[in-house]
């Protein structure tokens, strides 16, 4: 009964005008699922079989994207109950947690997703470095990725102030006071960021607008370019199918279409179509050579991404049920809590600040690190991708990463009042 109704609906003109792809199991139908759908169009029709293994990418980019979607949804919920005014914000948070149905849970999920996203994006960066996927022709997409990392941190930092509790107020005080050590324009920059010499109403409103609007616009723009370039350049894991020669990518078009591809007329046609601007000739060539190493995106990749999305969502919901996001006392400019720590992803800088001059530790060191990170694909000209074939880049990067992790762990867990050394199992002074 229901089956026949569904079948009848699927034959209707209305249904077929919306879903124009045949739904049978033929290769054409599978290809068209990805090809003929505006949303699934971010995928290629086929993906390298290797991509199906979790360890190919650890799904870190997908996890970041899913977390971002969760943050958008929960963020919109929160906006319904929040007023960015110093007289209202804290009370709104209390009301959200005590009076609004599922308010506490939504806030928890938003907070844990935000922390996890910083982590996921950072790990995604490490994974891409590890696989050498920032090398030609993907240099600029790495730069966009670094920019997305910065935007993620900015999101987290601006959001940190909004609850207007002691944790928020002092973490952001310490964080934003770093800005005024920037040479020449530092004082002016901080004034523009905060709208005054100290954190007050202007700062709260500015952080709010940055958090919900400005950063969102920038993020969408960068994310569109990032995804588009991944799609255009082909997946880096597919590159390994062709012998890699230094600085040959991208391969010049038409005359160099490989003979293998030319022999197979149908495949040559598909290569030609790709070269009309959908995908780089190089990755088209890779596809042409070893067609058996590929599978259809639909359903193989789609199913895996759905599992990633479901698992990620499940994890943050479970975290939200188990752990409440912290809300301390109302912000009090006359009482600095001991110790006052920056958000965890900046606590490494704070630890560095205890040892070096603020200009060095707070501005020059992070600035140089960020610049080096962005310039990496242009500095590292070694075409090799395998970690074992590029010991210098690997050891430098992993050393810096290790230093950053160590500083963060020391700052977050081993520091107490007056930034004195404490043991985390004796005194716990870390609040996420």
């Amino acid at each position: 009964m229901i089956d026949s109704l569904v079948a009848r609906a699927q034959r209707s003109t209305l249904y077929r005008s919306i879903f124009r792809t045949p739904r049978d199991d033929s290769p054409t139908a599978r290809a068209l699922t990805a090809f003929g759908n505006v949303f699934l169009h971010v995928y290629p029709v086929r993906v390298p079989r290797k991509l199906l293994a979790v360890r190919s990418t650890w799904r870190l980019g997908s996890i970041s994207a899913v977390l971002y979607a969760i943050l958008l949804v929960t963020g919109v919920y929160l906006m319904f109950f929040y007023t960015p005014a110093v007289t209202m914000a804290y009370g709104d948070m209390q009301r959200l947690q005590t009076a609004v149905g599922f308010g506490q849970l939504i806030r928890n999920v938003h907070r844990w997703s935000a922390h996890l996203m910083v982590l996921a994006v950072a790990l995604h960066l490490v994974r891409v470095f590890w696989d050498g996927a920032y090398k030609a022709p993907r240099q600029f997409n790495w730069v966009i990725g670094v920019a997305l990392f910065v935007v993620t941190l900015a999101y987290s930092f601006t959001g940190y102030l909004l609850p207007w509790d002691q944790l928020a107020y002092w973490a952001v005080t310490v964080g934003s006071d770093l800005v005024h050590y920037v040479p020449v324009a530092g004082g002016w920059l901080r004034n523009v960021l905060l709208g005054g010499a100290t954190i007050g109403q202007s700062a709260l409103l500015r952080f709010y607008v940055l958090h919900v609007m400005v950063l969102t616009a920038v993020f969408f723009l960068l994310m569109a370019v990032h995804t588009w370039r991944v799609r255009k350049d082909g997946l880096s894991i597919g590159d390994r199918l062709v012998p890699l020669t230094p600085h040959t990518l991208p391969v010049p078009p038409a005359p160099n279409v490989p003979t293998v591809a030319r022999a197979n007329s149908a495949r040559a046609e598909s290569v030609r179509v790709r070269q009309m601007g959908v995908v780089h000739a190089a990755s088209a060539e890779a596809h042409a050579r070893l067609p058996d190493d590929e599978v259809f995106t639909s359903p193989h990749m789609l199913v895996r991404h759905q599992v990633v999305a479901l698992l990620t969502t499940a994890v943050v919901i479970v975290m939200g049920v188990l752990f409440d996001a912290p809300l301390r006392d109302h912000a009090n400019p006359n009482l600095t809590p001991e110790p006052a720590k920056a958000p965890w992803y900046f606590v490494g800088i704070q630890e560095l600040l205890a040892h070096f001059d603020p200009l060095v530790a707070g501005v020059l060191a992070p600035g140089a690190l960020l610049f080096l990170l962005a310039a990496l694909p242009y500095v590292d000209r070694n075409p090799a991708r395998l970690p074992s074939a590029r010991p210098l880049a690997m050891s430098l990067f992993m050393t810096l990463a290790l230093v950053a992790v160590t500083l963060t762990v020391i700052g977050a867990l081993f520091r107490g009042p007056g930034w004195a050394f404490v043991l985390p199992w004796e005194h716990w002074y870390f609040e996420p």
Binding site: T173, V174, P333, T336, W419
Partner: protein, 165 residues
């Protein structure tokens, strides 16, 4: 040789776009610049000078500052640490300002003793008018450079930093 029409138009476009970008940047900068301090500022009249004896530090809530006296001299010291902006509490046990965030220590005159701060604590000009201490909170006076300690007073026996919060 006079430019062709194409060149002239191209140049005009570029100049026009440049001016537009400049105007946008200027507008943004002006709009985002902090407003003048609406909370007043200017002169903050306090108690007569006898109310601030030698070796004392009195917190003035309205000005978010301390009035201290060291070696006979009156000081108005901003509570904000010049390092990273934490509020620096006064520790009566040690007679020092001890910052809870990164452990900078200052003497009663706000001069830097130890810790990562780049200078002494910032302050304001102090005057005696009609028998009362008046602090000019409209302009911040930057703290003394590192190493300059003209108003050191002996430290007390205790310290506050290691106390559990």
């Amino acid at each position: 040789m006079s430019p062709t029409r194409r060149e002239a138009l191209k140049t005009s476009w570029m100049i026009g776009s440049g001016l537009l970008a400049g105007a946008a940047a200027w507008t943004t900068m002006e709009a985002l610049a902090p407003l003048a301090n609406v909370e007043g500022g200017g002169a903050l009249p306090l108690l007569p000078p006898e109310a601030y004896p030698e070796g004392s530090a009195t917190f003035v809530r309205t000005g978010r500052l301390y009035v201290t006296r060291a070696k006979g001299e009156l000081f108005a010291i901003s509570q904000k640490c010049p390092h990273l902006g934490c509020r620096v509490p006064y520790c009566a046990a040690s007679g020092r300002f001890e910052c809870p965030c990164h452990g900078s220590v200052y003497n009663l005159a706000g001069e830097h003793i130890s810790g990562p701060a780049p200078r002494g604590m910032d302050g304001y000009r102090v005057q005696i008018e009609n028998g009362r201490v008046v602090v000019d909170v409209s302009a911040v006076v930057e703290g003394a450079p590192l190493g300059e300690r003209r108003f050191d007073t002996p430290a007390g026996p205790g310290e506050c930093r290691d106390a559990d919060a």
